[in-house]
């Protein structure tokens, strides 16, 4: 808390006072700090955004090193362990980390499979164990796993098993590779479309602007999900996972670029009429330098904020499409594909852990929203007097 005398505060430019308050930095630091530093300082003061950023970094690292972190491959399963409930890790000095293996039998009356831990046996768990082989970052082959059963033939279900008896935790990790990347790739395509169309719309104005704005309006005024579904339904079911992934991404971004185009156009129009841009023209600055040196820096931060708020929408869209069976299909693994198992209430009732991939979606979406909110709030360090 800064308490200054009235005189001192009044003699300083308001913005310095505000920036000192906003960033918690000293006056001298603030006066010679470039824009990105001010943004970063303000962002740092935004606690939720910090938490979100850390969560995102953890999640993307986990996705990148999914093979290493996951105890199993997506293809490894054990039919007799279908719908196996989650197993908590136990610890004893004699055995180290362990779980008890289970035996299952089917209850004749309810037809449910009941799993009983066999407390006389142990499945020992350990760090850096050898197991299924995988390829790390698409470069290195390895079979070392961060944490898992020491005997590769044993099973362990930290978050439960799915319909086929695969480990859900491993699948969620592998699924994050698609679910988290589709958001980024989709938004990148949207951004390119948005920058291009929003850019020419804002730059040329006139009828070009009118037409593009009308198209944006129309796309925004119709429900997107039926549209996505309709387009996604045309992706032939016999396509491989990679073309389907690309096609779905393109479909999502075909509908998702509108908002970004609006932001770009709005910012462009606003900045174009700023006095300092006119001043740059009068300084004899060539057009491309005006755009890249004078105009673009003033709204990149806003665009980054909009982008980070658009990513969760993409992740949700992919999840919804796959969940409804019109997006990615098994054997591809994404959070939406995993949730397909949880479509029927009856299944969820017997195996509620099948909703765990949904939890992963929620965490990713919340984290992106926190970061996006934080960026939006700090995107314009001088914003307070702009109105």
């Amino acid at each position: 808390m800064v308490t200054q005398s009235t005189d001192e505060r009044l003699d300083e430019p308001d913005e310095v006072v505000e920036l000192v308050d906003d960033t918690g930095k000293s006056r001298t630091a603030v006066t010679s700090a470039p824009q990105w530093k001010l943004i970063w300082w303000r962002f740092r003061k935004h606690r939720l955004a910090q938490i979100g950023l850390i969560a995102l970094i953890v999640m993307y690292l986990a996705a990148a090193f999914a093979g290493f972190i996951a105890p199993f491959n997506t293809t490894s399963y054990s039919g007799e362990h279908a719908y196996h409930p989650p197993q908590g890790v136990r610890f004893s000095f004699a055995e180290g980390f362990y779980v008890h293996p289970t035996t299952s039998e089917v209850d004749i009356e309810s037809l449910e499979r009941i799993f009983e831990p066999d407390t006389s046996e142990f499945v020992n768990l350990g760090f850096f164990v050898r197991g299924d082989s995988y390829r790390l970052l698409g470069l290195f082959d390895s079979d070392v796993h961060l944490f898992g059963p020491e005997d590769p033939d044993e099973r362990w279900y930290p978050l439960g098993g799915d319909r086929k008896g695969s480990d859900l935790w491993s699948k969620i990790l592998y699924g994050s590779q698609i679910s988290l990347s589709i958001g980024l790739v989709g938004v990148s395509i949207s951004l390119i479309l948005g920058l291009f169309l929003g850019g020419i719309s804002g730059y040329f104005g006139g009828w070009v602007d009118t037409v593009i704005q009308r198209v944006v309006e129309i796309i925004m005024s119709i429900p997107t999900l039926p549209l996505w579904l309709g387009l996604a339904a045309s992706v032939p079911p016999d396509w491989g996972p990679v073309p389907t992934y690309l096609m779905i991404t393109v479909i999502l971004s075909l509908v998702g670029w509108t908002n970004l185009a609006r932001v770009v156009r709005g910012r462009l129009l606003q900045t174009r009429d700023e006095d300092y841009v006119i001043a740059a023209r009068l300084d004899g600055v060539p057009t491309n330098r005006i755009i890249f040196r004078h105009m673009l820096p003033s709204f990149t931060s806003h665009i980054i904020a909009s982008v980070s708020l658009a990513v969760p929408a993409m992740i949700l869209a992919e999840t919804s499409l796959s969940f409804l069976g019109l997006g990615l299909r098994a054997p591809a693994v994404s959070w939406g594909v995993l949730l397909q198992d949880a479509q029927s209430v009856n299944t969820v009732a017997t195996a509620p852990w099948l909703m765990f991939p949904g939890l992963a979606v929620v965490i990713a979406v919340v984290a992106f929203n926190f970061v996006g909110d934080g960026l939006r709030d700090s995107a314009d360090p001088y914003g307070k007097r702009s109105t």
Partner: protein, 624 residues
């Protein structure tokens, strides 16, 4: 210290009784308002601001008391504190506000009333009326003005609706709104600025309050409209036997209307006294400083007050120079504008496709000559096209028609109006511009060094250490420190930013500088410093100025020649002396007669002239 949060509901009568004060506690028997030790404090997480810091103030019945000060002086907070409508988180924390509506009643200490209670609400609007600076923002845009004015009567009287409507129409008529019976159902955005302020006045006065508080009511208005509103307020005050507190930053207005003056600075009262004493025998240094920064109209010479330490060569506008400049008709003009025309396409009603393309003629065939070394003033009110003309000459816009002839140092004359951006490049270094808004015109993402050095850099005229040396020299010249080059614009105050803007304009070594309202966003004391700087630089560097301004006193003070613009045309052009002493055109006369004279002794010595041509679109709207 009195701290009041929300009281439980109290009986109004009892609350007023508790706050009642006998008349002999007032400073003088004829006081309407007697403020003692008032403190209004804004407390927030970022700290404490004492907006009003222990002030005393007495307002005598039937007089006009002007509270004058620069921005941040706490004058508005004082006005709001009186009826306890300070914006959150502000709060009246100490002091007495004794108010006595008329001689037959006891005084009430309003500081002791609950700010949300019924007792003070009975005083607001009925006993004390308030007028604000921005009528557009201070009135609701989604309610008709009639609705908003009627509300005061609905609240404070038991009149039937039909009668209220009649009273409102009558009131609108009495504040000079033509066709009041139609306008009562108008929304604010359908009225002009002057009409809106009249509606606001009607609202403040309809319940016949004994005290009117006007908080910068004319600051957002053009000078001719300001004059009308001031006249109106004066007439109404006389007719209705009111007392008025008038908050303003403009000493000219103070000299025109005040009986008593209170000078405020940083939340404190620095000087109080009758208007004549304040203007002719000021006691406090700050008051003297303020008065010194006033442009001296009608004074013998228009010389700029110069700093004693500046070398004598920097004196500008002295009679010797002037005669040289004015008696040299054979000098070829540096800039010569011929029949310049600038039209804009505007799209009105752009919402939902009801688009109608309209052509707005901002500059309507203007011709103007600017002699080398002179300062030409371009004056007019908002919307007259002066800024557009300045910017068209700078080729910010592509003129629709006409010529902009510019004579280079080697004597060749070129027409800039039709040049391509590339051809213009050398001229962009010879003709520079200073912008009005010291905030918007500096790129917040670039350091001062980068902002000032940009023109040299892109022209390849200087690089590396040579560039930073030249920028540092320039900073010296405009009165900033060399070390400031690494800072960003947000580290500077308005006046300092304007100095940066000047440095950027001068770094290319220009011949002509167009200053577009270069000082109008600044407080008076800062304004004087910037004007002095400009004058000094002119004689030092032999610059030519085209000075675009709405402020006649500034133009009169520094310009050799003056052109008056009105609705896209130059209606009068001549030497400053001719135009100001003996204006020919009706509009110039009206404009000059509207400028407040900053000397209370000259009050009423001048007739107010109203210019009302038949062919002007908005004339009906603004006519009083």
């Amino acid at each position: 210290m009195i701290r009041r949060r929300r009281h439980p509901r109290r009986d109004v009568g009892r609350e007023l009784d508790e706050a009642a004060v006998t008349a002999d506690e007032l400073a003088s028997p004829d006081a309407v308002l007697d403020i003692r030790g008032l403190q209004t404090v804004f407390r927030s997480d970022e700290g404490v601001v004492r907006a009003v810091d222990d002030i005393d103030l007495v307002v005598r019945r039937g007089t006009t008391t002007c509270v004058v000060g620069e921005s941040g002086s706490g004058k508005s907070a004082t006005a709001r504190s009186i009826i306890q409508v300070v914006d959150v988180p502000g709060q009246v924390e100490a002091g007495r506000i004794l108010f006595r509506p008329d001689d037959s009643r006891p005084a009430v200490d309003m500081a002791r009333l609950d700010p949300r209670g019924e007792a003070i609400r009975g005083i607001r609007g009925r006993e004390i009326g308030l007028i604000f600076q921005e009528p557009m923002a201070s009135l609701s845009a989604v309610h008709t003005i009639g609705n908003q004015i009627s509300e005061v009567l609905e609240l404070h009287t038991d009149l039937p609706p039909a009668e209220i409507r009649d009273r409102v129409i009558e009131e609108l008529r009495s504040v000079g709104i033509p066709r009041a019976e139609e306008r009562i159902d108008a929304f604010t955005f359908q009225l002009s600025g002057g009409m809106r302020q009249r509606a606001m006045i009607a609202m403040a006065l309809i319940a016949r309050p004994s005290l009117l508080i006007a908080d910068e009511p004319t600051t957002a208005l053009d000078v001719t409209t300001q004059a009308q509103i001031l006249d109106l307020l004066g007439d109404l005050k006389r007719e209705r036997d009111m007392t008025m507190i008038f908050i303003t930053h403009d000493l000219g207005v103070v000299a025109e209307i005040a009986d008593d003056v209170v000078v405020m600075r940083h939340g404190k009262v620095v000087e109080t006294g009758p208007v004549d004493q304040i203007f002719h025998d000021p006691q406090h240094d700050y008051t003297k400083e303020l008065l010194a920064s006033l442009p001296q109209r009608h004074s013998a010479t228009r010389a700029v007050v110069t700093e004693p330490e500046t070398p004598p060569t920097t004196t500008v506008g002295g009679s010797a120079d002037e005669s040289v400049r004015h008696t040299a008709p054979d000098v070829t003009p540096l800039l010569s504008v011929r029949d310049l025309r600038m039209e804009f396409d505007t799209v009105s009603g752009a919402l939902f496709g009801r688009k109608r393309k309209e052509k707005v003629v901002a500059v309507n065939g203007v011709s103007l000559d600017v002699l080398p070394g002179s300062t030409v003033g371009l004056v007019g009110e908002s919307g007259c096209g002066k800024t557009t003309l300045g910017r068209s000459i700078m080729r910010v816009y592509q003129p629709t028609a006409g010529e902009i002839r510019y004579r280079s140092g080697d004597g060749t004359v070129a027409d800039l109006a039709t040049m391509s951006e590339k051809q213009l490049l050398p001229y962009r270094r010879a003709m520079r511009m200073i912008f009005q808004d010291p905030y918007g015109s500096l790129n917040p993402r670039m350091t001062v060094q980068q902002v000032i050095g940009e023109p040299l850099r892109v022209a390849g005229m200087a690089q590396g250490s040579e560039l930073s040396d030249r920028v540092a020299d320039m900073l010296d010249r405009v009165g900033l420190k060399r070390a400031m080059a690494t800072r960003y614009p947000h580290a500077f105050s308005g006046g300092e930013r304007q100095r940066i803007g000047i440095a950027r304009a001068l770094i290319t070594g220009p011949e002509l500088v167009i200053a577009d309202e270069a000082v109008s966003a600044l407080d008076v004391s800062v304004r004087t410093q910037i004007l002095e700087l400009l004058a000094g630089l002119q004689s030092e560097l032999g610059l030519t100025y085209l000075f675009v301004s709405h402020d006649l006193s500034v133009v009169e003070r520094i310009c050799d020649r003056v052109a008056v613009m009105y609705y896209g045309n130059i209606v009068e052009e001549g030497s400053a002396a001719e135009v100001f002493e003996d204006p020919k055109h009706g509009y110039t006369r009206a404009l000059l007669s509207a400028v407040p004279i900053a000397d209370p002794r000259l009050r009423g010595t001048r007739e107010r002239i109203v210019y009302r041509p038949d062919d002007v679109p908005a004339a009906d709207d603004e006519a009083a």
